[in-house]
Symmetry: C2
DNA sequence: CATACGTTCGAACGTTCGTTCTAATTATAG
DNA sequence: CTATAATTAGAACGAACGTTCGAACGTATG
């Protein structure tokens, strides 16, 4: 492979040098790759990464097989780019939203809301991120794992802040993992007609995690 | 296929007539099939259903490809049998444990404990059940979906009992789905060394769902 | 021993997989 | 317009896929 002429896609592999935000010159190439990634997200979501073939993607994008490989060197890298973009976006939004909110309980509620809002507006991407967590091989999986670790540590920090601030006694790791389960599992059941907006769901889930179903809702009158 | 001589596996396809518990004569055939299913569970768990090949199963069981097909007519049916056995077992255990326990809160705690205990003792099976939820096609998936509906309705009933009994106000569907997320997601993070026994975890998760992290643990002294 | 049946296998079936080759077409720069 | 590079497509590659076939094996019964 080393002697072959480098395609555009292979040349693209190197990272943008950090420190140079590079002012994002959106080229035709990037736009087209973005379209491919959008279609690939939908196909991976429906058929699963292993179950989806490059020919499925070819059909979905209306592009030939060779055309796809002009923009991305492998199927695995498509999944990588999808997961990286999705995870990076949700993480950036979270960091931004957490600024200027000091109250520990409110910060946890923001974490939940951020996740659910992003899910509702990008269901396919978040399902592919959650469900295909183990589909990448050693090389590419480690970078996603790094972002995941950041996401986990932020949430763990939120839990520890609440715990310390109020002198509570609970296992923060279990709490974080339970919360992750609640918000990640949603791709298996969420129905906008039945389950309402992200805000409504986030409040309910926030109540459960923070106060439990016993103390979470407004108590009703007994008839 | 209709004109081919029926193999043992195809003849086995019909259901055992209900009403006749059939006293379970465990034949050599059943024992061997069970071994295959055990190995298949581990392989599906590690590589995913689509990612695992019949040759992987052949290697894991030490049996030839044709040998596997003597015991089960297709890869998909292997997954079906794994999921059906796993789900049926956990459901039966749950029903049995719920007898003679009237208190609504305790019943929810039993539900959680039953699920986590089964997970700890059969991690591969429960992961294959959760993760490969959408891998079966129309014919075989509906039967699994039926068991799942039973499982869901039982848990929904537990929630509604607690809600009515105490005059609480919360969305039972969201509560059930959140709880399912908590207990199903565990296959992505559980580490026995770190996270302890099923009992310990079940108590923590029960506290979260019922009382939340704010009221769930024993309050600590402030230093 | 002969027969029958459950069991196992090596080898192959046709298909689909991810990927690549070559060449034609289109856009861009001088 | 010419030349250079970016973009697309058709056809094919070898490998791996799920599955099947015919023959051999083992064992228990007549």
């Amino acid at each position: 492979m080393a002697t072959l002429p480098a395609t555009r896609a292979t040349r693209r592999q190197g990272r943008v040098p950090s420190g140079t935000p590079s002012r994002a010159p959106i080229t035709r190439f990037d736009r087209r790759l973005g379209q491919i990634l959008d279609h690939a997200t939908a196909v991976f979501c429906e058929k699963g990464y292993e179950g989806a073939s490059m020919r499925d993607l070819s059909r979905a994008t209306g592009m030939s097989l060779a055309g796809l490989y002009h923009y991305c060197e492998s199927k695995e890298r498509l999944l990588f780019l999808i997961q990286k973009h999705t995870f990076t976006t949700i993480l950036e939004k979270l960091k931004s939203r957490l600024e200027n909110v000091p109250d520990p309980e409110q910060r946890i509620r923001i974490f939940i809301l951020n996740h659910l809002e992003y899910f509702v507006s990008n269901q396919h991407g978040l399902k592919v991120l959650s469900h295909e967590d183990e589909s990448l091989k050693n090389g590419l999986s480690s970078e996603i794992a790094g972002i995941k670790r950041q996401y986990y540590r932020i949430c763990l920090g939120l839990m520890e802040d609440l715990r310390r601030g109020r002198g509570l006694d609970f296992n923060t790791r279990t709490a974080v993992m339970s919360l992750f389960g609640m918000i990640n599992w949603i791709y298996t059941w969420y129905n906008p007609r039945v389950d309402g907006s992200a805000e409504a769901l986030a409040e309910q889930m926030g109540n459960i995690v923070l106060k439990g179903i016993v103390h979470g809702g407004k108590t009703r009158r007994k008839s």
